[in-house]
Amino acid sequence: MTDPILQLSDIGKAYGPVNAARDINLDVEPGEFVTFLGPSGSGKTTTLMMVAGFTAPTQGNIQLEGKPLDPIPVWKRDIGMVFQHYALFPHMSVAQNVAFPLEMRGVAKEDRRKKVEEAMEMVGLAGFGTRLPKELSGGQQQRVALARAMVFKPRLLLMDEPLGALDKKLREHMQLEIMHLHKNLGATVLYVTHDQEEALVMSDRIAVFNAGRIEQIGTPRDLYEAPQTKFVADFIGETNFVSGTVEAVNGSVAKVRGLDGQLSTQLAEGSRAVLAIRPERLHVLGGDASGDDNSLTGTVKELIYLGQSRKAIIALEDGTEVTALEQAAQAEATALEMGAQATLGFRSSDARILADV
């Protein structure tokens, strides 16, 4: 394993008594694509702004390539950034925009022209150099912003909700394009978004932010399959929660409401907890339920036909509603009727027992 290129150690930002971010710890490997994911006001943008240098941390320190970043002003940090609404200079042509960071670094004119051309080509905008930003579409402006942030080969590339202003289709297209650029250039990227799908698609690792703190850092798969907190399980994907108290602990397995699940963090017997289980891991009994070692019973409240799959909402005895999602083939094998009793099964290895807060 190589040394981390960026290290955030216990950093935080307080505005008076309000903590916009606190206790942020993160190591980023060279070439890694790390996403800050969280609802608005969760501290993800504040943290990015501290790395960029627009906000000074009130605690902790940041190191880039092993050297402390705090005493270095924004303009000497050599960190590229794509801003939320691109922040292209409206009085400069596209080429002048892209050339700006090179000009500020005193790159010779001829060299500058070549590098700008390369960058423009890289983002697929060759030949657009003489236009003004306002003459370009949203997606094209986005590419110019990318080119400007990458043209000087920054040590680190920051992106603050870069796709937020684009429509869904273009957003999905740009996600792939940014991923390709990242792979081809081997750049290290910190990416901020509140769109969990975007985070899952693009990232090597995701840091989930909530109320100014990082709840969990992990690969998209880790976060989806093994969330460590109720917030993460809830924020990423869809999850069923069955709440109760921890009845028994046996190694890494615990019991809540008579149901077994994996423990991701230590929980004492008797403490409040939820059992979290993804809809696609719940099986309607009657079909293929091999390996299921837990079961739930309830009344069918809602059956939703989704073409390739079927969604069944089932109310448990205490009124908790859980959702089961089954592929079409499975669904055909297990006919359900509205208002009828149904039994759902799942594997204890698919369920997580999490502290209920």
Partner: protein, 267 residues
């Protein structure tokens, strides 16, 4: 009769014509008389002549007064533009409650009647030995024109996207480079119009100048004032035309500058 469209339309037409006459006739009359060949104020003039302009430019009283006015308005507008723009930039960045108080104080010379400012400045400038000096007049004109620059530039900064400055610094621009390459070019139309209007106001200013000037240092408006009160001859019409043309030129330049930068023309 009151019901008919034609009556109301006609009435509106009459109102429009009367308004245009009321607002513009005095200016037109002045303009025309300044080119009169008659030796006294008469309208319409019997013929065209440039005699009053010749008279004006050959009379040392008028040329000296015009020259004095220029020596006041250029430095005054320049200082007011720099100080006003700097203050607008600072106030735009300040979030504290003090910003509002400071802005109010800086705008005060525009809001309170000029006669008060004039009397007050005259009182202390006499003590400080600035009465009757070019410096005193320049300072006084800076006080009067600074609020115009401040409000024009502030209005522009209010719609200025601050993230452009962040972006520039992120690209490696020092604060000074950020200001020179991004902020200043983007607010320059308003700085320009602030300066133009500062010049117009300084050139047209009478009340403060009336208090501060002496026969030795006397801007053109004060000279005009004393002539109007005495005998009126068409030379004053020529001077008035010069003053009017100066305002018109400034308005025109402002319009061109704004159109070029894609902003709506201001008032």
């Amino acid at each position: 009769m009151f019901q008919s469209e034609r009556f109301w339309g006609g009435l509106r037409g009459v109102i429009n014509v009367l308004l245009v006459i009321y607002m513009l006739a005095p200016l037109v009359v002045t303009l025309v008389i300044s080119f009169s060949s008659a030796l006294y104020l008469t309208f319409p003039p019997p013929g065209f002549s440039l005699q009053w302009y010749e008279k004006m430019f050959s009379n040392p009283t008028w040329t000296r007064a015009l020259w004095t006015s220029l020596k006041i308005l250029v430095p005054a507008a320049f200082i007011a533009t720099i100080c006003g723009t700097a203050a607008a930039l600072a106030l735009n960045r300040m979030t504290s409650r003090w910003a509002l108080v400071i802005r109010g104080v800086l705008m005060a010379p525009l809001i309170i009647p000029v006669i008060i400012t004039a009397a007050a400045i005259f009182g202390v400038f006499r003590i400080w030995g600035l009465y009757g000096t070019l410096h005193g007049l320049i300072i006084a004109h800076v006080i009067l024109t600074l609020p115009f620059v401040l409000s024009t530039v502030s209005a522009n900064l209010a719609v200025f996207d601050r993230r452009l400055e962040d972006a520039a610094m992120n690209c490696g621009a020092t604060p000074w480079m950020t200001f020179r390459r991004v902020t200043l070019p983007l607010i320059s139309p308003s700085v320009m119009s602030g300066m133009l209007f500062a010049m117009v106001i300084s050139f047209d200013e009478l009340i403060v100048s009336l208090f501060l000037s002496t026969p030795r240092v006397r801007p053109v408006t004060v000279q005009m004032w004393s002539n109007i009160k005495g005998d009126t001859d068409p030379t004053i019409a020529a001077i008035a035309t010069v003053l009017f043309m100066f305002s018109l030129l400034a308005l025109l330049m402002d319009g061109i500058a704004r159109r070029r930068s894609g902003q709506a023309p201001g008032l």
